[in-house]
Amino acid sequence: MSLNTAPNLARPDDFYEALIEMHRGLDDATSQDVNARLILLLANHIGGHEVLIEAMQRARAGVDPAVSTALAEAA
């Protein structure tokens, strides 16, 4: 299975608002921590290694091509 990048969110605007709301009142460090927990929870939900690696590549794309290549090898 490959990463689904077509629109898939059931309620896009509500999701986005909830994502921002999740961080309300947190300082940057605590927000980082909450983001990390969110990523881990979602990653476990997805499970498939190839999909996760592809998502990491997409997230990283354009910032540093060398890292994208390393991620591709990890897949």
């Binding site: 980082q32 921590d33 990390a36 927990r37 990523i39 881990l40 929870l41 476990n44």
Partner: protein, 587 residues
Amino acid sequence: MNPTPAIDYQQQRFTYQPCLEQTRPADAAVHPVVVIGAGPVGLVTAIDLARQGIRVVLVDEDDTLSSGSRAICFAKRTLDIFDRIGCGQRMVDKGVGWNRGKVFLREEAIYEFDLLPECGHARPAFINLQQYYVEGYLLEQARQHSLIELRWKSRVSAIAHHADHEALTVETPEGSYLLKARYVVAADGSRSPLRKMMGLESVGHTFRDRFLIADVKMAAPFPAERWFWFDPPFHPNQSVLLHRQPDDVWRIDFQLGWDADPVLERTPERVIPRVQALLGKDAQFTLEWVSVYTFSCVRMDRFRHGRVLFVGDAAHCVSPFGARGANSGIQDAENLAWKLAFVLQGKAPDSLLDSYASEREFAADENLLNSTRSTDFITPKSAVSRCFRDAVLALAHEHAFARRLVNSGRLSLPATLHGSLLSSADSAPFHGAMQAGAPCTDAPVLTDTIPGWLLPHLGDQFVAMIFAPPASLSAALLPALVRLTEGGLPLRLLFVSGAQASAEDHTVLSALGDGAVQVQDIEGLVAQRYDGQPHTCYLIRPDQHVCARWRTVDAAALAQALQRATGHEPAAQPAPVPDAACYLCMT
């Protein structure tokens, strides 16, 4: 239980004696093998070579064994090797056996593991035993071999390469001499002087963290388990590891952080309060050993340089989480010993030694990968790495998936030598872990109604393990099998059957020669673990790794695989190497 009274191995001193090169230099010949370094890896190399009939000179720069707290966890595979070379029982009798570990986050146990969840193995997953006992027992074993000459206070200071030998300059209390050898095994430790003399490096990375090792002697109620704490109340924001050793000695590793002062931290004024915080203010204990260390994950690019073979810490170093240092070094030793013997005895080409390098470089990478991952978890290298680590620990309270990510060390398992050029590919489907390159697993067997174990029957020569009673083989096959047992690459025959040996079996066994043995698979576990169906046949190396297997007994196929396993014939198609994630099936 011990055959000798208690010896203080840390206090033992060994006598320097002048050698033939010094007393009668004209009579000194080129030795087959010189091993540098009488640590656990050098000693196992020497003993294993002697078992193969090879004369060995073992030189060591001082006159003592290890002291203090160094390697302590010896894995099942290492115990199987110690059994094979004749000193496993002493190690197990003295050591503290354990299979279970617990990981704590603050005060809560968040993760438990059992490293040997199945029955039917002679040895536990691990024993804890101070390195000086291991070296002491190995040394006493080495001394029973007349082929091993030990030279204490003999420091190698230079090496010169020649076409057919290496010439080592050895410094002694009575001056220096030249020591010549066809092959040199460098087991001279992580700082390997020989490696430096040859202008070689071991590269990788050093972790920016410091750890305090405190060995304390006390009567304590903790069970014989590996306990690891993240952020415990008695040592906040850092990790702590507790192991039980023999003689009521407990090893405690405290993570200190990079900024800790290594000199100050090893003073009793600093150490005792840390131990008291763990054990309670009133705990009665004495400090046996204290040190502060940092660690590295490094390896040499190649473990073979001509006639010089690097083994153990000289070739590769890992962090201690996972017990992959001494254990992997001892596997290096046994991988190398039979190959060196075969080459020196003219049974195999020199190129067989290249397979030592490629197989153990592969194994080192696996150990480095596991060790580096554990260390990155325990000592995160960046703010974001720390952030994810803390998030995993926070989620681990509630969520089983996060507990699986907690990495306090993935403990030493022997490498399956995927892609080894010595292996032959399967020609029929098989189930289970005993694929080509895998170290043989143990199982209970009966020999003439006496209970025992499979591994001792594999010994340290090539073995064909046949899942059939000997009398069931076709008469036409027997002469071909006898020829294999008597050939230039001798093969022993081991028959595994569900039933006891019959009179007909005994008749066939005696016709097959002295080395042929039949064992009864009393619980069916050999057949289960090796996917042994009637007439399944395995070819097993002298280091007890599988190198080929078939569904029928075919003498020609055995002969061909034996040629390949001794480097006479390149493998047509090395088996594909699976991706790294597959290695991490443990815990």
